[in-house]
Symmetry: D3
């Protein structure tokens, strides 16, 4: 064999060997992936995310995908001749809008099932209605009734454990039912966080459209790669965190405080960001972790 080829092969082997301790560490651990943003629009990125999650499944992890469907819902609301309406960033969801939202979310859900099946792994697409998984109550926006927007009050993880035990990859769309069994739309970040807590996930990873958490969002050099929750709280207190990052970071803190070992905010626009974070020596994005964990496992 030529030297050049040989060297290339050796590099390949080294990458695989580099992954060894991470595979070992997370074997049979549950990882919840919140899938959204650009990574859900760009066809190539989509393919990469699904490959990553499928690989995690195959090497012994137990991934669960939780996804949203934001822009697609608006598109169909308009198609049906209605006007999407938002109150403080939350979609005002009357009965007709909820009907469309449920249709669209389930469509997106099954399209992800398709992508995973295509790679030879068994997936099942469910919503929070199946097996009564997500119980909600109506969420008010500053006291205003905005319709079928739900806040999770309880997670029944039986269906997730059953599907994982039977070796399926569960793909969840964030719809739940209230005590009258009416359907509600749920924020996908919230759903991912609540599910991660309920199944005692080892990891919760958010695929987002930003590189991570910055000390100063205007200065890319201030990207924080590791953020203990006490520091995260301080950043919030001190007003460094704003916009869509604020609720997300609060979700991260909540997850860590409820037993999830580590939460990652990853840049979904980077190909295979999930794989790289988990299987290489150099983590990417921002990892939120408990205060007592003093040493990052990538060293």
């Amino acid at each position: 064999m030529e030297e050049k080829n040989m060297n290339e092969l050796l590099k390949k082997a080294e990458v695989l060997i580099e992954a060894l301790p991470y595979i070992q560490r997370f074997n049979r651990k549950i990882i919840v992936v919140k899938y959204g943003g650009s990574a859900m629009v760009d066809e190539e990125l989509k393919q990469h995310v699904i490959q990553d999650v499928t690989l995690l499944k195959l090497v012994g992890f137990k991934p669960i995908i939780v996804h949203g469907g934001g822009k697609e819902i608006s598109r169909w609301v308009e198609k049906a001749g209605m006007e999407p309406e938002f109150v403080n960033g939350l979609r005002k969801t009357d009965e007709a809008t909820m009907e469309i939202a449920e249709m669209v979310l389930n469509k997106v859900n099954k399209s992800l099932v398709k992508l995973v099946q295509e790679l030879g792994v068994n997936a099942v697409g469910i919503s929070g209605k199946d097996g009564g998984m997500l119980k909600v109550e109506k969420k008010y926006s500053n006291g205003q009734d905005i319709g079928y927007v739900g806040e999770i009050t309880q997670v029944n993880p039986k269906i997730l454990y059953d599907l994982l035990e039977k070796d399926f990859l569960p793909i969840v769309c964030p719809i739940g039912m209230d005590e009258n069994y009416d359907s509600y739309n749920i924020n996908a970040d919230d759903a991912a966080c609540a599910i991660a807590r309920a199944v005692h996930a080892e990891k919760l990873a958010f695929l987002t459209d930003i590189e991570g958490v910055y000390k100063d969002p205007k200065d890319p050099s201030t990207l924080i790669s590791e953020l203990p929750i006490s520091e995260a709280k301080k950043l919030i207190e001190d007003g460094y965190i704003g916009g869509g990052m604020l609720p997300k970071l609060n979700n991260c803190i909540d997850a860590i405080e409820n037993g999830v070992s580590r939460v990652h905010i990853l840049d979904g626009r980077i190909a295979h960001c999930l794989l790289l974070e988990i299987f290489t020596n150099k983590g990417i994005g921002t990892a939120i972790l408990g205060d007592k964990e003093t040493k990052y496992y990538h060293e």
Copy 2:
């Protein structure tokens, strides 16, 4: 206690006792229910069907619901500004129509999940894409390409067995994937029949909008209550059977010939027709059965 009340109570007890041998006979047996027609439109009938299936589940049967969504699909196709089109009774299904069909079928699917959950039983709504359950190929109508209309070539029942084992009631909408993982619409009767065969169902019940099979459809007194498949074939040969009943009866014959013990054509417009057929001394509708079974179990 007053005599009148006492008598009434006694009658109640007798109804329950009457059900005893049937509960015993079908304990832990799989029954596939094709749910469609009026029973899917009328809210009260809907409620009755769901109560019936839930009761079957609770007393030890293992029911699987397979449903269609015909009229609702047309409604949404029109809503999206398109024109429903049929070729020889089959919906011409271009990509846009298929997208809507999948959305609608999944919506109907999850609405049935809701009704079962409301009665306190755990249901999971899946399509034939989940777990790669239904493999299809394109179906041609007299050689004409009518788009994403699929014919089932293979059923992988793993997901159904897994859900039944974990005590869920599976609710299936008839969508499958071909070898390129494209989605196809499937006739719900065909899907119910293929699934019943694949899981070796004890019973397959079609909820329809007719009373059963007639020797002479114009003469209600010619309703056949028991039909061995050899006679069914003869009726078809002799031209007695036409319209929508022809493919349905062929499906019945196919099911019986492939290991399903008994197929029922029930009048879904009768409240609790399913329960009455199974739990009382007097069967209703038409039962298609093997030729060797000479005695009907209701006597």
Copy 3:
């Protein structure tokens, strides 16, 4: 179908549907039935009780029958040329009497096995000696030695759990052994109560020859349908309860205080009283329950 028949069928269906929530509530729960009194003498009532218990088994309950054999024992004692003798309502049981009592109780036991097997359900007839289930010590009647009359000191439920797991219906006759492995006769009410406690039964039902507990036994209109144990204790304190009801009620209180959810005193002379109590909206007899349970489940 004629309207009249149709209506009758519909009524049947409604009875079955009425049972649905109760089947669900008690699914896989253990129910101990103390079987005695007239319901054990009258052949038709006997048949009804066995049908009821068998149905409970088939729809998912786990019933255990505990029975006595009082009058039959006396008949055989006399047949053997001896004189039945009672001290304060307890049978004086010398060795010869005990031998006969054991023979008769086991005969009755196996005759119940026969009735259940006849309905197609697997039963096993055991006494408290099998698997060392019932440990007793000698019971004195006001200090007087009355022979082989035992008081239960310990229940080893292994054999009951094993038989239930293997899907048998256990039928128990109340004989136990003391630490010398001598056999003792046990009051059947006491045995039923001790067993219900040991297996953490959901329900304990006494089939008796009265309608239930009365505030004033002379006034049938004072039948109490629901009796929290604090009130039961007060009734006893205030001297309203006497005769055979007193120890029975004490047993009921004991059972509730030791984890049984609900105890029923049913009129065994009413056909299918067990079924009617459990499966219809209108309970019959008297239900003894914990004080904290404020709402009766039949509403």
Copy 4:
């Protein structure tokens, strides 16, 4: 330690070591013991038999005891003022006699349960009615109806397998039911043989009141220690075998021909005959075996 004691201890150890290969050979194998004759009357012999069977259980065998109750039945028939009557050696069994027989057999059954429990092993006493184990039809004696005397037509071994799995020692009294669920008395030898066949027993041992099979019953020196079934058949053909031994030997042949590996006719009057046969180098009594087995395992 003194030499004498030491030698005695060493002898003890050698006896235990001698048992080693037999324990190993029969580990987890089923052995059916037909218990009857003197060993059931003499209290000391009784104790020995129960010790033996209990030891077999403890070292890993799966013993099943099948017992009769002959003389005791006659005693109670007389006690009840009736006259025992025999036709060709079979008890004429009218309904009243059958009732007594069932009472007595169950009494004996539970007295054996007591003896085993006393040694700390869990036993369950059942009859062939429990779990529908023994199905019979009426047996005629040369065409004469002799009442409730049954011939086994079918054995349902489920209850035996379940009890063995749950680590109980099953003790069986030979009563069965016909297709009308009427009770019948069964010859205990026949019952033991039918059960041994049904559970594919490794061994079937008859405890009898003779030393074994003789070539010439008048000459004790002609005791046969090993008897291949072809030779057994020849002995019968040649008229050497008579009396009670004839049906017993036929039962042995039947058992061997239906999968039981070895049948032993043991002298129940010898203390611990069962243990000695199984655990020492020198078998006792007569072993009936297949023709192909040429080497006896005691050498």
Copy 5:
């Protein structure tokens, strides 16, 4: 049968029956046997020990053998041209010596496997390196570095539980690894004690070259047959115990204080000492037990 033979047989049976309560008491209990001393050198004694342990296995115990290899190691060290060296009774173990020690111990280990397999029981020979069972740190002798001599810091019993569950007899040689995964020689007494603690053994038996613990080692009549640990401690305090017995007795005390029920110091020079201790009415050697156990089970 002749009277003399008969009597001999009866005695055999009595030995077996004598074992019955002990078999019962220790059924499925773990017993750790430290195998060493003369019993490992003399071929006949070796055979006896293996027979004993195998018999224990066959009658339902779960034995684990822990063995040393002392003299054999020295023999091979010399063979390799090196000089065995001891510091305070501990072998000075440089790298070369450790290599030989590991070779010899594994050879001895597999030779024991052979002896057990020969008796038809499945054995697996492992060291403390397999499955990471024994974690050690370097042991110093009065502060002096004596090389690869290890002190156990942690026992991971998974491999032992797994092998026992799969019905193997584990045979362990005392080698462990430190945190750098270097191999260390461990004192076999210490290893047996640590393992007995880790698997919550019912018994720990040391096969030694002395009769047991003496009050006065010079006076054979002062052999102690039962020694509660408080008395053992007092004996040590008072200086009665010396030589190799001191660490052994400390090990015994440690085991009892950590959940092992009883520790036996047996004279391995007595044939079948293990069997005799466990299966006969007269224990041999010295039993160390908790202070609260007031009655010795051999009475």
Copy 6:
């Protein structure tokens, strides 16, 4: 992130994704690795092989290592003052040599256990004596008795299945016992082949000191990457194969003909050859396969 780093990361991800289909294909399949040659001498290569096998284990394969110890045995034979002697390439193995061989092989065995444990995976080192796994008979070299050299006559795979089920990595050294339980040395290639057959391995990989099979060993360009067994037989027939490759190739053919799907002859001198063969698009070495398999899975 800098572009250069980004590209490097992306390449890493691609390597992992490239492995995805192979991980999937061999999930839970058994792979037997014959470990020998240079890869067992060079410390770095050793490390690589163990990393590779450990990674295979972690991503879901079930690897079994079979190793030899050739040169190390000779070294110790000499050390003990003896002269290694070979007859037709087979080591003449008298009793003393066998003793040393067993010591050395077990030492090597445990040193591999250490390397695997170091990487955090549980390994168990066994020989063919454990659990009676390898039964052998004496092997003669052209009729000449060469001592304790064995030929495998039977493999009892129970111990391997048990260890795999309990998630251990079995490491096997090639020693077996004959019917007298004497130990024999076995050729490691033969052992690996026999084991692969017995456990129905998916793959058998030989780590050797050559690049693979050549059409013309003198011309490196004639390396055969895929060799159907019919062609392999032809190569042998035509005399192209000689030396140590001949028995190896015969082993390969034998394995394929007995159910192993694919056998690989890999160059153990290439770092991570095992990983590269299995996880990359470009196989290395020579793959021997069945004639019917027409398409190589690396395309």
